[in-house]
C-alpha cells in the first residue's frame, strides 16, 4: 500500500513539473473518451426514444401487411411490392376471431389536399373509428367521426396536428372548415393532439388525414385495404390470435403474400438497425482513442529520456527493473485515466445540454466503459516505454548527459 502511495506521489510530482504536457496528453484521451461516451449516450437515448414512440402508439397491436417486409428482423422494402391487398371479406373473417378488441382496416394513399388557396401533399389514412382508441389518438379540438359516420360514409375528416398546421397555420382555425381531398369535399370535425416522433420507422400519426374509409371509395375503386390493424385485449393471447388470423387468411392467400407483424417486432427491427449504425459510429469514434494512446506513448518516451539520470539513481539505490516498469506504467495509466475521467465529465455536461432536446442519458455501463478503456489505453501504450526504461543499465543511465 505504501509502495503504491509512493508511486502515485512520484507520478504526481512529474505531472506538476510538466503541467502543460500533462494537460495536453490527457486532453487527447479526454476528447476520445468523450466522443465515444457521447455516441453511446445518444444511442441509449435513441433506443429509449423509439421505445416511447412506439408505446405511445398503443400496445398489443399487430398489423396485417401485404408481402413480407419484416422478415426475421430484416427490413426488406422490396417485399411488399407486388403483394396483395385485403378486402372487406378478409376484415369480416378476422372479425370472427375471439379476443380482438379493436380492428381497423386501413387504406393508405398520398393525396393532394386543398383549403382556400393552400395546397399540400398529405397521407390519407382511410379507416374506421376504432383506430382512435387503438392508437391512443387524443383530440386537441372538436370530435372524432363516429361509427355511424363510417357506415353513412360521411365526408368528415380528423386531421393530425402537423397537417392541420400546414393547412390552417394554427390548429385552432381548422375545426368546422372544409377541405378538398383530391376532388372530394370534406368537413374538418376534429384535430388530434401531437404525438411527436415519426421518422424513426414508426408511422407518423401526426401527419395523417383520417377519414371514414367508405367516404373515399371513389379514390379507392378496388375497395381494398393496404393494411389491417388489430389490437388484442390480453397480451398473453397475442400469439394465439395471430395464428388464428393467419389461418383465416391462408384460405385465400399464399403464405408469402402477407405477413402479420406485431408492433413490437417493428420496434425491435428499427431499434436493431439504429444499434448497428450506433456501433459503427462508436467504433469510428474509438479511433481517436488509439491516436490519443499514441500521444501518451510518445510523451512517455520523451519523459523517460529526460529522467535517465533519475532512473539510474533509483536503480543504484536498489530499485529493481520491475519497480521502474511499474513506476512508468502507472504514470501512463494515471495520465490516461485522468483523460478518461475528464472526458466522462465533459460528456456528462454535454448530455445535460442535449437532454433539453433529446432523451440522451449515461448508464453505469457507459461509465465503466469509459474508465476501463482509458486505463487499458494507458497500459497498452505505456508498456513499451516503461519496458524501455526498465531495461536501461543503471551505470549508463546515471552517466547520461
Amino acid at each position: 500500500m505504501e509502495y503504491f502511495r509512493l508511486i502515485l506521489l512520484s507520478s504526481l510530482d512529474d505531472f506538476r513539473r510538466n503541467k502543460l504536457r500533462t494537460f495536453l496528453t490527457s486532453l487527447g484521451i479526454m476528447i476520445g473518451v468523450s466522443s465515444v461516451i457521447l455516441l453511446i449516450a445518444l444511442g441509449l437515448g435513441l433506443k429509449k426514444y423509439i421505445k416511447l414512440q412506439f408505446e405511445g402508439l398503443g400496445v398489443n397491436i399487430a398489423i396485417v401487411m401485404p408481402g413480407n417486409i419484416f422478415n426475421n428482423g430484416n427490413i426488406q422494402p422490396g417485399r411488399n411490392v407486388g403483394g396483395i391487398k385485403f378486402d372487406q371479406k378478409d376484415v369480416q373473417s378476422i372479425k370472427t376471431v375471439a379476443g380482438i378488441k379493436n380492428l381497423a382496416p386501413t387504406y393508405i394513399k398520398t393525396v393532394a389536399v386543398k383549403t382556400g388557396g393552400n395546397s399540400q401533399i398529405g397521407d390519407l389514412y382511410a379507416t374506421n373509428e376504432e383506430i382512435f382508441p387503438m392508437r391512443n389518438l387524443e383530440l386537441a379540438k372538436g370530435s372524432y367521426y363516429s361509427k355511424s359516420d363510417v357506415a353513412k360514409s360521411s365526408k368528415k375528416v380528423v386531421l393530425g396536428p402537423k397537417i392541420a398546421e400546414k393547412l390552417f397555420t394554427d390548429i385552432d382555425n381548422a375545426e368546422g372548415k372544409s377541405i378538398k381531398i383530391e376532388n372530394l369535399n370534406f368537413k374538418v370535425v376534429g384535430v388530434l393532439k401531437e404525438k411527436g416522433g415519426g421518422g424513426f420507422g414508426g408511422p407518423d400519426f401526426d401527419s395523417f388525414i383520417y377519414v371514414p374509409y367508405k367516404a373515399v371509395l371513389s379514390l379507392n375503386p378496388d375497395k381494398k385495404f393496404s393494411v389491417i390493424n388489430f389490437q388484442v385485449t390480453e397480451e398473453s393471447e397475442m400469439d394465439k390470435i395471430k395464428k388464428a388470423v393467419e389461418e383465416k387468411l391462408l384460405r385465400r392467400y399464399e403464405k408469402d403474400d402477407f405477413s402479420i407483424v406485431e408492433q413490437e417486432e417493428i420496434q425491435n427491427t428499427v431499434t436493431m438497425i439504429f444499434s448497428v449504425l450506433n456501433s459503427v459510429l462508436i467504433a469510428i469514434g474509438g479511433i481517436s482513442l488509439i491516436v490519443g494512446g499514441i500521444g501518451i506513448m510518445n510523451i512517455m518516451y520523451v519523459s523517460i529520456i529526460e529522467r535517465y539520470q533519475e532512473i539510474g539513481i533509483r536503480r543504484a539505490l536498489g530499485a529493481t527493473k520491475n519497480n521502474i516498469l511499474l513506476l512508468f506504467l502507472s504514470e501512463a495509466v494515471l495520465l490516461s485515466l485522468t483523460g478518461g475521467v475528464l472526458g466522462l465529465l465533459l460528456s456528462y455536461l454535454t448530455v445535460l445540454i442535449i437532454r433539453i432536446y433529446f432523451p440522451a442519458y449515461l448508464d453505469v455501463i457507459a461509465v465503466l466503459v469509459a474508465l476501463t478503456t482509458s486505463s487499458l489505453i494507458g497500459i497498452i501504450f505505456g508498456v513499451l516505454p516503461a519496458k524501455n526504461a526498465a531495461s536501461l543499465s543503471p551505470v549508463e543511465a546515471i552517466r547520461y548527459e
Binding site: 379514390l219 408469402d256 479511433i287 488509439i290 510518445n298 518516451y301
Partner: protein, 423 residues
C-alpha cells in the same frame, strides 16, 4: 556545446545580407528535417497519430464514393434514355415518402403498354411485375426477386446474354414455362451459367426450364441486392404468379435522350387519361438516383465527421511534442536569436517543422488508405478521387499550422538572454 558546431548558424548571418526567399525556404526545411531525423521515435509516433486520422477519414470517404458509384453503375447500365413509371409518389421531388410504399401495388395493364407503344417517340417499352419467389435448383434453394415481363425487358434494361437464349414473343404467346436467370442465381442454383442451360428450376413447386443466363452487370459480391440477382419469366407462362395480369412498373425507352423531358410529359399524358395524377409517377433513372445518393451522402458525412475527431486528437499530440521540443531547444533558440534571427524567423522555423510533421502523417495516411482501397476494390468499387487527395493534404497541413502556432509563438517570444542562460 558540441551541437553548436553541427548547426548551420551562419544562416542567420547570411540573412543579414542577401538571401532569396527560396534559399530561406530551403534552409527552413533542412533544419526541420534534420531535427525530425534526430528524434526518430518521436517523429514516427507523432506522425502516426495523423496517419491514423487521415487514413480513417480517407477510407470512409472512399467507401462513400464507392457506394455512390455502385448505385450509379446499377442505374446507368439501364441507359440514359429510359423513363420508369411507378405507382404512387414514393420518389417524387428527390424525397422518399415511406407511406407511399403502400401504394406500390400493380395497377398498370396491357392496355397501358399498347398506348405507350403506339406513341412515335417510343423506341421500346416493357412492363414488369415484381415478386419474390423461391427457386429450387441443383445446388440450393433460394429466394430471388423475379421480374415477370415481355421479351422487351431485355432490350429496355440493356441486358446481354451470356449463355443460351432469351425468350421471345412466340414463347410468351405459347405460354411456355421458361426462365432467364441473372448471373448470380445461375451461379448459386447450378454452379455456373453454362451448367444452368436446359436445367429445370422449381419455382414455388412449378417446373420451369432455364433457357438463358444474362451477363453480370458488375458490382456483384458486395452483399447489396443488384440487377444480377434477378430472374426473368415471360408474363403469360408465369401467369399463376400474377393472376390479375397487372404490372408494377413500366420501363419505356425513347430513341433520343435529348427528348427525355418531353417523353416524360408524353407518357404522363397518356397515363393520366386512365389514372389520377397522384396515382403514378414518371421518373428518369437520374431522379431515382438522386434520392438514393442524397440519403447515403448524409450518412457518409456523419461518419467522416466522427472520424475527423481523431485528427484533432492527433493535432493535440503534435502540439504537445512541439512544446517539448521548444523546451529542449531553448538554448539553441537563444543562440540563434543572438546571431541575429528575428522572432519571425524562430516562429517560421518551428511552424515549418510542425507542418512537415503533420504532412508526413498525411502523405503516409494517404498511402495506407490507397493500399486498403486496393484490397477493398476486390469486393466493392471504392476509389480515391483527386479531391480526396487534395483534401487530405490540405487538412494535414492545416492541422500542422493550427496546432503548431502556439508552440512556435512560445519559442519566438523567448527573450534571447534568458534563453541562452537556461540550463
Amino acid at each position: 556545446m558540441s551541437f553548436l558546431l553541427k548547426m548551420p548558424l551562419h544562416y542567420h548571418r547570411l540573412k543579414l545580407f542577401v538571401m532569396s526567399e527560396l534559399t530561406e525556404f530551403k534552409y527552413l526545411i533542412g533544419f526541420a528535417v534534420k531535427d525530425l531525423i534526430k528524434n526518430k521515435t518521436r517523429t514516427f509516433l507523432t506522425s502516426l497519430g495523423i496517419l491514423i486520422g487521415i487514413s480513417s477519414v480517407v477510407i470512409l470517404n472512399s467507401l462513400g464514393l464507392g457506394l455512390k458509384k455502385y448505385i450509379e453503375i446499377q442505374f446507368k447500365s439501364l441507359g440514359s434514355n429510359l423513363v420508369i413509371v411507378m405507382p404512387g409518389k414514393a420518389f417524387s421531388g428527390g424525397n422518399f415518402r415511406p407511406t407511399s410504399m403502400y401504394q406500390m401495388n400493380p395497377v398498370f395493364d396491357e392496355k397501358d403498354i399498347r398506348n405507350i407503344e403506339k406513341n412515335s417517340l417510343t423506341q421500346v417499352v416493357a412492363p414488369a411485375f415484381v415478386k419474390f419467389l423461391e427457386f429450387k435448383g441443383d445446388l440450393s434453394t433460394r429466394t430471388y426477386e423475379t421480374v415477370i415481363s415481355t421479351e422487351n425487358i431485355f432490350t429496355v434494361l440493356n441486358s446481354e446474354l451470356d449463355q443460351g437464349l432469351l425468350f421471345n414473343r412466340k414463347d410468351i404467346d405459347k405460354r411456355t414455362k421458361i426462365a432467364v436467370l441473372g448471373s448470380s442465381p445461375a451461379q448459386k442454383l447450378f454452379g455456373s451459367p453454362a451448367n444452368s442451360i436446359g436445367k429445370t428450376v422449381k419455382i414455388n413447386n412449378q417446373s420451369y426450364k432455364v433457357i438463358g443466363v444474362l451477363k453480370s452487370k458488375g458490382g456483384a459480391g458486395s452483399g447489396i441486392e443488384s440487377i444480377d440477382d434477378h430472374v426473368y419469366l415471360p408474363y403469360k407462362g408465369a401467369s399463376s404468379f400474377n393472376p390479375d395480369k397487372k404490372f408494377l412498373a413500366i420501363y419505356a425507352k425513347t430513341s433520343n435522350q435529348d427528348n427525355l423531358d418531353k417523353y416524360k410529359d408524353v407518357i404522363s399524358n397518356i397515363l393520366s387519361k386512365r389514372y389520377a395524377e397522384d396515382d403514378f409517377s414518371v421518373l428518369t433513372q437520374q431522379e431515382i438516383l438522386t434520392t438514393f445518393t442524397s440519403i447515403f451522402n448524409i450518412i457518409n458525412i456523419v461518419l467522416v465527421a466522427i472520424a475527423a475527431i481523431s485528427l484533432i486528437v492527433g493535432g493535440v499530440g503534435i502540439m504537445n511534442i512541439m512544446f517539448v521540443s521548444v523546451v529542449q531547444r531553448i538554448k539553441e533558440i537563444g543562440i540563434r536569436r543572438a546571431y541575429g534571427a528575428r522572432e519571425r524567423d524562430i516562429l517560421l522555423l518551428f511552424l515549418s517543422q510542425t507542418i512537415i510533421l503533420s504532412l508526413i502523417g498525411g502523405i503516409l495516411g494517404l498511402l495506407l488508405s490507397y493500399l486498403v482501397v486496393l484490397i477493398i476494390q476486390n469486393y466493392f468499387p471504392v476509389y480515391i478521387d483527386l479531391q480526396t487527395v487534395i483534401l487530405a493534404l490540405s487538412i494535414s497541413s492545416a492541422i500542422g499550422l493550427i496546432f503548431g502556432v502556439l508552440p512556435a509563438l512560445r519559442a519566438a517570444r523567448l527573450t534571447p538572454v534568458e534563453a541562452i542562460r537556461k540550463e
